[in-house]
Structures are given as structure tokens and as C-alpha cells.
């Protein structure tokens, strides 16, 4: 196998407390330095929470894992200061094409409109993603205490803390935390140690996942085939990654022998049938997977908060694994900060579970539907699948039923207890209803072209629209409250943000006076047609569970 990537080795360092044998208590310990644990740690650092990260390994993710990162995840990493290098290194795309045999059945565009800072998707090998996150953590200096070769081997929750037993090359030592964020992956030992059921289904199918190094002239698009001539009766998925590495998934069926299928003797002829005998290529990595969808019913267990694959596992059609995992920590960390600072009640953390369990159910339902379409479980299901494809080649309606994966989009928290519902008198278009993540738009700030989401940051914002000639409102001490709300004005001609193109006004259905209360994770908490400091303060209190 050829390697385009040199795996870094991060040094093990014995901790002070293990060396001295002194038991310490940390405010927040993150277990697991995968994409989700690392993102959690960066978010803690951004909110000024000292954080320790424990990981049992000393390098980045090995093997063929995540490829596609969605706009919302990139926006979160933007807030944490590291999306730029990912987008620069990654392959930007938004078009998906679905073929049957050799014929194009239909294509979709995941971001048909301009005026967003981040693209619909990038493709990037998971090892590059993790290395970027680790680089960002290192750049923050001692705000993140990232400890390699620290495996958590025991957990004992108590009323006011959690005790972890940690194994390093120097033996086992105890460490305490006020809060633990469990990001230890799909096989989570913490989940198991706490005896929490992880329920769902495993799909009776196998997939060969190959990372192939080649010079090829496929475009930067997602190509999916049902029943192609080079792999009859099964499906194939192709993605371009960085460094001329291509990801190819071959559906194999349930009877395939996983060990046999991984051998070059089997893999190389398969690839030659697809790529043609004359296309030179090298294999970087090959694995055979069986996919599953399962989740915890509750992501909060006292002072242990589960996030990422430890909380929910999805089949990869739709790229909803890492993408939803980083949305977990995006939802969690600002809440944890308010609770640790004593500004919000402990109950705010229950809303983390409420909101993200609902999102996980949405992700699992969606990716289960895709997997059921790709791997029909019954003869009737297969007949409908084939009929859909027959019709889709000719009839537009059937194209909406073809399901090769519905790509990750953020799930709105429409039913969240943290939302203040629209008042009847304040008629609004549905798009940006409370519980929705904020849409981006191009704006000018201090004479410089920029983006609305960058101006929101990670604090409570009262986003006040001025229209053509509105005036900035009196904010009545909102900015000086214990949980401050910063007023940001957006006008067509003036204000903190100038919306010259009118896209911000259009996307937020805004007229002069319209005001949105935005949470620190850039979700809408409430909205009104006027600026009323008392209503803003009440909605803020509701959004932190203190009313």
C-alpha cells in the first residue's frame, strides 16, 4: 500500500498528578481526541473553560473513515478558528450525480444559491481533519491540556464530581472532573461501564471501502451508481479527496467474505473493471464495513455528557457521523460554561440531551431510509427500488424518491423548551423560526466585506434589522447583564453590518425593527417585529432554562 500521508506521533508526557500521586479535580475532562472530542476541547477553550483531553492513542485516525464535512460543521469550525485550512486543503463540492447502469438518472445541487461564506461540502481525509484540529489546539497553548496515551479504564460518578481511572505507560492513576464529555467513539467504554443501552439496527450488507491514489479526471462531485456495468447488481460511490486520493465504496452484499474481499487479489481487479485497465492507481487503504444505526436515549447521565459516535452511530450514507457529532458539542459547551459559572441552572444541560437526541433521531431515520433504499431488505422493497429507478430515468417525480444518501443538514430544534415561540401578532415566514440555525449572508463590517455568522460569534446576540432607514435601539443594559446580550444592527445602508445586497434581510424575512435573539451556538431563540429589551431578556432567560 502507498502512503500519501505521514502519520504524526504525538509525545506521551507523564502528568504532574500521576508523578506526584496527588489527586486533582478538573472542571472539564473530555475523553477521546477524535473529531468530536477535539472540537469539544476547542469550544471549551474558546469559552474560557480550562479543559483536559484524554486519548488512548498517540496519532490521528487511521484507515478509511470520514470524508465529507458539511457547511454547518465548517461554520462551527470557523467559530473555533480552524475552518480556513480545512477548506483550503479539502475538495469543495456541491453537485451529486446518480447513475443507473451507465445512464445519469438525476443530479442534485446542495447549495444552489450564492452568498454563503462556507461551501455545501468539502471532502477531506479524517486524518487531515484531526491534524488541523490538533494544530489549532496546540496554537491555543496551555488552554487545552491534550494528553496522549491516556486510556480511561474506570469511571465512578458521584453527586458533585466524576472519578476517572486513567492508564498510561506509567501505570494507572485517578483524576476527578466536575464534568466529563464522553467522546470515546462508537465502542465507547464509558457507555459500557455505565451500563447504558445503545439500541438500533445493523444492516445486513457489507461495503468495501477503498482509498485509491490516482490521477483521474472525474470532477469534484459525488457520483453514485446503482447497478453499474463494472459492478453488477450492487452500488458504487465515488468521492474525490485531497492529495489525489479517491474514496470508492463498493457494495458487496451480506454473503461476501470480509477477509477475502480485502485482499489485493480481489480489490485490484474490481478497481480495474471500474477505472479501465489503463488507469494507473495505488491502494492507500482498504477495509470492509458493516454499517449500523444506534443511539443512546439520553445523552446526559448526571455529570457525564455523551457526544459524537459514543452517543449515536449512523450508517455513512449522508455523511451524518462527524457532522452531527460536532453539532453536539456546539450545542453543549456554551451551556456547560453558563452552568459552571453559576449563571444557569444545571437543568440547562438536560436541554442538551433533549435537543441533540431529537437531532440524532432525525439523522438515524434519514440515514436508515437511505440504507434501506441502497440495501433493500425484502423482495417487495427491492421491487419498489427498481421501479423507482426505472421511472426516474424518464419522470421527474420519481427522482425525488431515489435515495442514495440525503446529505447532512442541521436538524432544527423546533420543539425545544429553550425557544420562545413567535407571537401571533409578529407574522413571519417559516424559514428562520425559533430553533433554526442561523443562515449566513454577505455583509460589510467597518467597511470590510465579511459574513453575518462571523459577526455573531459565540455569545447571545440581539440581531436588530434597520431596513433602509431604521435607527439603532436603546438596549437598556442588556449588554451589561450577568448573561450579556450584545445588540448588533444590520441595515441596508448603515449599522454595525451593512447588508448592501439585501440577502440578510431576505433570509431573515426582516423589515425595519425586526429583531432576532441568537444563542451562542448561532441558533434562533426568539424573534419579534420590534426591539423590546424586556422581551429579549425574558427570551434569554428561557434560552438558559432559568424561567
Amino acid at each position: 500500500m502507498l502512503n500519501t500521508y505521514q502519520f504524526p506521533t504525538f509525545p506521551y508526557v507523564q502528568s504532574e498528578e500521576q508523578r506526584t500521586g496527588q489527586r486533582v479535580r478538573k472542571p472539564v475532562i473530555v475523553v477521546g481526541a477524535g473529531p468530536v472530542g477535539l472540537t469539544a476541547a476547542l469550544d471549551c477553550a474558546h469559552h474560557g473553560l480550562p479543559v483536559v483531553v484524554l486519548d488512548d492513542n498517540d496519532t490521528v485516525s487511521v484507515g478509511s473513515r470520514a470524508v465529507c464535512y458539511a457547511k454547518r460543521a465548517l461554520e462551527i469550525w470557523d467559530r473555533l478558528g480552524c475552518a480556513g485550512p480545512m477548506v483550503d486543503k479539502g475538495v469543495v463540492w456541491k453537485i451529486g450525480k446518480v447513475f443507473r447502469d451507465e445512464r445519469l438518472v438525476y443530479q442534485f445541487d446542495l447549495l444552489p444559491e450564492p452568498g454563503h461564506k462556507r461551501p455545501a461540502f468539502i471532502n477531506l481525509q479524517q486524518y487531515h481533519l484531526e491534524e488541523t484540529l490538533i494544530g489549532r489546539a496546540a496554537a491555543l497553548g496551555n488552554r487545552i491540556d491534550l494528553r496522549w496515551k491516556h486510556r480511561v479504564v474506570g469511571i465512578a460518578p458521584a453527586a458533585d464530581h466524576v472519578l476517572l481511572e486513567v492508564e498510561t505507560p506509567d501505570g494507572v492513576f485517578p483524576i476527578e472532573a466536575d464534568w466529563v464529555i464522553a467522546c470515546d467513539g462508537a465502542r465507547s467504554g464509558l457507555r459500557e461501564a455505565l451500563g447504558l443501552p445503545f439500541e438500533g439496527q445493523a444492516f445486513q450488507d457489507r461495503f468495501l471501502i477503498a482509498d485509491v491514489v490516482m490521477q483521474a479526471d472525474f470532477p469534484a462531485e459525488r457520483w453514485f451508481w446503482f447497478d453499474p456495468p463494472f459492478h453488477r447488481n450492487q452500488s458504487v460511490l465515488l468521492h474525490m479527496q485531497a492529495d489525489n486520493v479517491w474514496r470508492i465504496d463498493f457494495q458487496l452484499g451480506w454473503d461476501a467474505d470480509p477477509e477475502e474481499e480485502k485482499t489485493p487479489e480481489r480489490v485490484i481487479p474490481r478497481l480495474k473493471r471500474m477505472l479501465g485497465a489503463d488507469t494507473p492507481f495505488d491502494l492507500e487503504w482498504v477495509s470492509v464495513y458493516q454499517f449500523a444505526c444506534r443511539q443512546l436515549d439520553d445523552f446526559r447521565h448526571g455529570r457525564v455528557l455523551f457526544a459524537g459516535d459514543a452517543a449515536h452511530q449512523v450508517s455513512p450514507f449522508g455523511a451524518r457521523g462527524a457532522n452531527s457529532g460536532v453539532q453536539d458539542t456546539d450545542n453543549l459547551v456554551w451551556k456547560l460554561k453558563l452552568v459552571l459559572d453559576g449563571h444557569a441552572p444545571d437543568a440547562l444541560l438536560d436541554s442538551y440531551s433533549t435537543e441533540r437526541v431529537a437531532a440524532a433521531r432525525d439523522n438515524l431515520r434519514t440515514s436508515t431510509r437511505s440504507t434501506d433504499f441502497i440495501t433493500p431488505k425484502t423482495a417487495a422493497s427491492r421491487a419498489f427500488r427498481d421501479a423507482t429507478l426505472d421511472l426516474a430515468e424518464h419522470l421527474p417525480f420519481a427522482r425525488t424518491l431515489v435515495n442514495s444518501g440525503r446529505l447532512s443538514r442541521p436538524t432544527p430544534y423546533r420543539d425545544s423548551p429553550l425557544n420562545t415561540p413567535d407571537a401571533d401578532a409578529d407574522a413571519f415566514a417559516d424559514a428562520m423560526a425559533p430553533g433554526t440555525n442561523c443562515a449566513d449572508a454577505p455583509v460589510t463590517r467597518d467597511g470590510t466585506a465579511g459574513w453575518l455568522l462571523d459577526a455573531l460569534g459565540d455569545r447571545f446576540v440581539a440581531l436588530h434589522f434597520l431596513g433602509d432607514d431604521g435607527a439603532a435601539p436603546a438596549s437598556d443594559g442588556l449588554a451589561d447583564a450577568d448573561i450579556p446580550v450584545t445588540t448588533v444592527t444590520v441595515g441596508r445602508r448603515g449599522g454595525d453590518l451593512v447588508d448592501a445586497e439585501g440577502l440578510a434581510h431576505a433570509r431573515y424575512d426582516a423589515a425595519a425593527g425586526t429583531t432576532y435573539l441568537i444563542r451562542p451556538d448561532q441558533y434562533v431563540a426568539a424573534r419579534w417585529r420590534t426591539f423590546d429589551p424586556a422581551r429579549i431578556a425574558a427570551a434569554r432567560d428561557r434560552a438558559v432554562a432559568r424561567t
Binding site: 434519514t366 431510509r369 434501506d372 433504499f373 433493500p376 425484502t378 423482495a379 417487495a380 422493497s381 421491487a383 419498489f384 423507482t388 426505472d390 421511472l391 430515468e393 424518464h394 419522470l395 421527474p396 417525480f397 427522482r399 425525488t400 424518491l401 435515495n403 440525503r406
Partner: protein, 73 residues
């Protein structure tokens, strides 16, 4: 009325899931019977002979679809 072949289902994936779930636990013959009943129910609801005749023709040979898209706008 012409047969509408443009997308018309408010939640295509949800409908598809329920359609497949309808057949859970049925063998091939039972499935065929359930499908036949479903077609008869929907046909009765549609009623319009021109629409039904067009659907019958397209079900038999989807490739004969030419003018429907233009006709449907």
C-alpha cells in the same frame, strides 16, 4: 387533466418508508395482492380516464414519456 409527473409528494422519503413498511412480513404473493389493492384504491380516487390511461402506458414503458413534462408545465 393530464398526469402529473412532476414532484407532488410533500415528504417523498417518508412516503417511501411507509410504502415499504406496508409489505413487512408479507411473502411475494401477499405483496402482489396488497399492491394490486393499492393500485385499485388510488385509481378509483383519481377517476379521470385520461390520467389513468396515461399512467397505465407509462407504467408499462416509462421511456414513452415525452410531452408530459411540458404539458404539466
Amino acid at each position: 387533466m393530464t398526469l402529473n409527473v412532476q414532484p407532488n409528494l410533500p415528504d417523498p422519503d417518508g412516503f417511501y418508508e411507509r410504502l415499504v413498511a406496508l409489505h413487512r412480513g408479507l411473502d411475494a404473493d401477499q405483496s402482489a395482492v396488497v399492491n394490486a389493492r393499492l393500485i385499485l384504491l388510488l385509481a378509483n380516487h383519481i377517476g379521470d380516464p385520461a390520467v389513468l390511461d396515461r399512467a397505465l402506458a407509462l407504467a408499462r414503458d416509462p421511456a414513452t414519456h415525452r410531452g408530459d413534462a411540458a404539458a404539466a408545465g
